[in-house]
Amino acid sequence: MTTFLDTLFNGLALGAVYALVALGFVIIFKASGVMNFAHGSLLLLGGYLTAVLHDDLGFAAALAVSVLVTAAVAGAMDRFLLQAGGGADPHTAHVQTIVTIGVDIVILTDLSRRIGGDLLSLGDPWGDDVSALGPVTVADSRIAAIVVSALVITGVFALFRYTSWGLSLRAAAEDVEAASLMGVRLVRVRMLAWCLAGALAALAAVFLAAFPAPGLERTTGQIALKAFPAAILGGMASPPGALAGSLLIGLTEALVAGYQSELHVLGEGFGDVAPYAVMVLVLLVRPTGLFGGKAAVRV
């Protein structure tokens, strides 16, 4: 029973972090129709900046700086590289998706070169402390991950719901032309969406590198790829769906890893790929994800 609760909690914490990344994907997709392949390297950039700066500035300030810088990089990338081509038709989004691959390669190469084989500590305040929560012992960093993610995600949803930017974003996602005619500044709305996604990625990096993970490696960014199935599971254009998908993916991964000995037929390390198996199964039944609406086709 304790093992089960342990695993459940791990899954929840993992899902909370994935949710930060997946939410970024979904925001970007909603705003621009682009699948951001550079998200992993944005995440790594955020983590790297925190790791380098925390000695001089302290953790909180370093995190703030890295979140801001990552947001700025994401925004600049959208404004100067993706939107330079202009237009919002599906083909442009296709090409822009590939442009993010190019950006990803450049950023990732540079960061890998700088990080090399090192494990960087982010200097987070939780260290390797643990607390007892009823019958299970959990790492403080995991509790922090859940709490911070919940707060931040609530904040993002409030942004969507109550600010004029959120309204503009939803309007633009619904119908670009109509939104533009109503005076929505598409360029700015879209750029801000990218900034927000970048900030979320930088924040997620902290929890991905914190205990019990050994630290920030050059492969940390690849974890962002697991947020792809999370976002797809929920339906790419639905933020609540991304949340549900992330929890599902996190729980699946933790459960498969936790009960690996019972599942040894599937091979060692199946936990890492289990999210993808779940996603394929879900897509077979619901081709647009759990929460994705059926797109109406007008001829």
């Binding site: 997709f29 699948m35 392949f37 590289l81 330079a84 081509g85 083909h91 442009t92 296709h94 090409v95 590939i98 442009v99 691959i101 190019g102 950006v103 990803d104 390669i105 450049v106 190469t109 540079d110 070169r113 090399g116 790829l225 792809f228 199935p229 976002a231 797809i232 790419m236 091979g267 060692e268 390390g269 199946f270 890492d272 790929v273 993808y276 198996a277 996603m279 394929v280 897509l283 077979l284 081709p287 647009t288 994800g289 994705g292 086709v297 001829v299």
Partner: protein, 379 residues
């Protein structure tokens, strides 16, 4: 008027023959390094043409191309090798291609239903699940260390350097022999893909990409064509996989990762979506660039030789920088890729050549070439 088409056709035929002659003569002059680049480029081109068919023409985004390459490569190795059935290598090669097609067919329940970005990520799953299987199914794939590839034999002729062979004073090793194999397979790919694209199936796929509803109304069987595009593209990938396995002489799971899939996607986008020639150009560009950069690292400014102290930019890194930047720049300035760039350049050249006579006299007489171009999918 009747003369011009035949003259352009003769011109085009002549150009094709010249290109083939040059390509056939190259092994007599180039050393193994260049031949290997050519070989990898040809294998990549075969795969890229397949992906172009699927993603460029049919509009189905696929990130799973590496998986089908792996099926082809490992299929060949297992079928021809020990442990495995130990079939004759030529039979194994054909079966491996069919196996890749079958894998694509098995995926068609997903491919037929899932669209756009969803399909892209669903195929992403193939790469990761496939990689996992390659690592864990030791008895078939050899696990992490992979397996060595038995050389192909065709009617007693071995595509390896086991037997001595000298033609016109040039020793023919594995690279020289495989070059001709690659060339033949690439020619097959080139003509079949162009035939497919220009014939009924190609039109149907383009119609499907532009509007599924409209295509269905015109009598295109949507699910069947979507599935067929996937199967055919997987077969090209399988062929490319076999060729790559022969060129590498060893297959390892880590090569067939997500990076490879992304490389192929980059090839077709850099080349220009929906065009066979573009996919080929993109494949050569993406394959040759890192190899050339590594080779000439010591002569490039700002690039350190491999193995010097870290913190400096090594050749592989420099190649990655350049590769990433090239993707961004090409798409920024030519969203329709190298193919579109070449097309516009040709149009401009023609305009300059047509300039001397007064523009009014030779009023816009559309040349047959431009009539053909209009039929190509405008991305």
């Amino acid at each position: 008027m009747s003369e011009r088409p035949s003259r352009t056709r003769a011109l085009r035929l002549g150009r094709t023959f010249a290109a083939v002659a040059v390509l056939c003569a190259l092994p007599f002059y180039l050393d193994a390094f260049w031949l290997r680049i050519g070989l990898f480029s040809m294998a990549a081109a075969v795969g890229a043409v397949g992906l172009g068919l699927l993603s460029g023409t049919a509009g189905q985004l696929s990130l799973g191309h590496a998986f089908f390459l792996a099926v082809g490569a490992y299929g060949y190795v297992w079928l021809a090798g020990e442990p495995g059935p130990g079939l004759p290598t030529s039979v194994a090669a054909v079966l491996a291609v069919l196996l890749a097609g079958a894998a694509g067919g098995l995926f068609s329940p997903v491919a037929g239903r899932v669209r756009g970005v969803y399909l892209g990520v669903a195929t992403l799953a193939l790469v990761f699940l496939g990689h996992h299987v390659l690592l864990t199914a030791d008895s078939v794939t050899g696990g992490f260390n992979g397996r060595s590839v038995p050389p192909l034999e065709l009617g007693g002729f071995s595509f390896s350097s086991d037997s001595e062979l000298t033609l016109l004073g040039v020793p023919f090793g594995a690279e020289e022999r495989l070059w001709y194999l690659g060339l033949a397979l690439f020619a097959v790919t080139w003509f079949t893909a162009r035939g497919l694209l220009r014939g009924r199936p190609g039109r149907a796929l383009v119609a499907l990409r532009d509007s599924e509803t409209a295509a269905a109304v015109m009598g295109v069987d949507v699910a069947r064509h979507r599935a067929a595009a996937f199967v055919v593209s997987s077969m090209y990938a399988g062929l490319a996989g076999v060729l790559l396995a022969l060129a590498f002489r060893r297959v390892v799971p880590d090569y067939f990762g997500l990076v490879l899939s992304i490389d192929y996607l980059a090839m077709i986008v850099i080349g220009g979506l929906g065009s066979v020639a573009g996919a080929t150009a993109g494949a050569v560009f993406v394959t040759a660039l890192p190899l050339l950069m590594t080779r000439y690292a010591d002569q490039l400014p700002l690039v350190a030789a491999p193995g010097t102290d870290d913190g400096t930019v090594g050749p592989t890194e420099a190649a990655r920088y350049l590769y990433g930047a090239a993707i961004v720049l090409i798409l920024l300035f030519a969203p329709d890729g190298l193919h579109g760039l070449a097309r516009r350049l040709r149009a401009r050249l023609r305009r300059i050549r047509a300039a001397p006579p007064p523009a009014g006299a030779t009023a816009p007489s559309p040349s047959p070439a431009s009539a053909v171009r209009a039929k190509e999918p405008t991305p």
